[in-house]
């Protein structure tokens, strides 16, 4: 029987595998604790749901070398200031609806999903809605009857009618507005937001 070098033995590699895996898992768990504390709603990176009461800007942060969302002066959604609880309930309605209607089957959300329809991460800030004044109304009209209000931009793709109710549409719009406040480290690249009052 030839005794092999310790660093090439089965025993060594079994232990090494266990230790390496365990170490990586521990590091991941530590980073997970830290990340979750930084992305819970109401933090700098992921603002509270009541942020939908305010105007959302998207401005270049020179020190970080990327554009970041900035929460501005009051600009309540559907003309009504909501408490934190009310805002959360509305956003929750929208979030559940985006799952129940499988929005990710065509769109991307934070860049994840399918690639048949545009990304929804900054949908609230997209210039597609023309101006700040018409945005809420246009979004509502579109969601209630997508085929009739589809733009397509020269493509024949149209969103199908998913039977979204007015209540659900309000929720979706609130969810999209809230999602646009999330600090996504400059994703999507070079995004050009809609013109809003108070732009510099």
């Amino acid at each position: 029987m030839i005794t092999t070098a310790w660093w090439a033995s089965e025993d060594f590699w079994r232990k090494a595998t266990i230790w390496i895996t365990a170490f990586m898992v521990v590091v991941l768990i530590v980073l997970t604790y830290d990340s979750l504390s930084q992305i819970s709603a109401g933090t700098e990176r992921v603002p509270a749901y009541s942020a939908i009461n305010n105007r959302i800007y998207y401005r270049q942060d020179k020190s970080r070398n990327m554009p970041v969302p900035v929460i501005g002066d009051p600009a309540p959604l559907f003309g009504k200031i909501l408490s934190e609880t009310e805002a959360e309930a509305l956003v929750e309605k929208g979030k559940i609806t985006t799952q129940a209607k499988n929005c990710m089957g065509c769109h991307t959300i934070l860049g994840n999903g399918a690639y048949f329809a545009p990304d929804l991460t900054k949908a609230w800030l997209d210039p597609a809605w023309g101006s700040e004044g018409t945005r809420e109304q246009l979004m509502m009209r579109f969601l209630l009857d997508p085929p009739a209000n589809s733009r397509g931009y020269g493509s024949k793709r149209r969103m199908p009618n998913l039977g979204i109710t007015e209540e659900e549409a309000r929720g979706i719009i609130a969810f999209l507005k809230w999602m646009s406040t999330i600090d996504t480290n400059g994703f999507p690249r070079n995004f050009t937001p809609i013109a809003q009052e108070g732009d510099r």
Binding site: I2, T4, A5, W7, A8, N65, N185, G186
Partner: protein, 100 residues
């Protein structure tokens, strides 16, 4: 500091990224075959592939504006791709020594 790739460099950067891995495998392949068949020519070709890999790594690092802490990633690639096949070769030889 994180600085996205310049528009005109997207293609070069992604191709350089692909080439890093491909030359890495070529180097590994040439190295292993050269050692196995005791062909110095093959070993030289392998180090040629490693030289091409180094160029790809530098093109990648340059086009991706890798600076500061990102130099760690660049160095990891250079050292890792150089030493990993050699270490794996040594392990292959040693692990096949035992008889069961």
């Amino acid at each position: 500091m994180f600085e996205p790739v310049e528009i005109q460099n997207i293609l070069v950067a992604t191709m350089a990224g692909a080439l890093v891995v491909m030359f890495g495998a070529l180097y590994a392949l040439g190295f292993a075959m050269g050692k196995l068949n005791k062909q110095p020519g093959m070993l030289r070709a392998a180090y040629g592939a490693y030289a091409a890999l180094s160029v790809s790594v530098f093109v990648l690092a340059y086009t991706l504006n890798l600076n500061g802490i990102w130099w760690g990633v660049t160095l990891t690639m250079l050292i890792g791709y150089l030493l990993a096949p050699q270490a794996i070769w040594k392990l292959s030889v040693k692990t096949h020594e035992f008889s069961d």
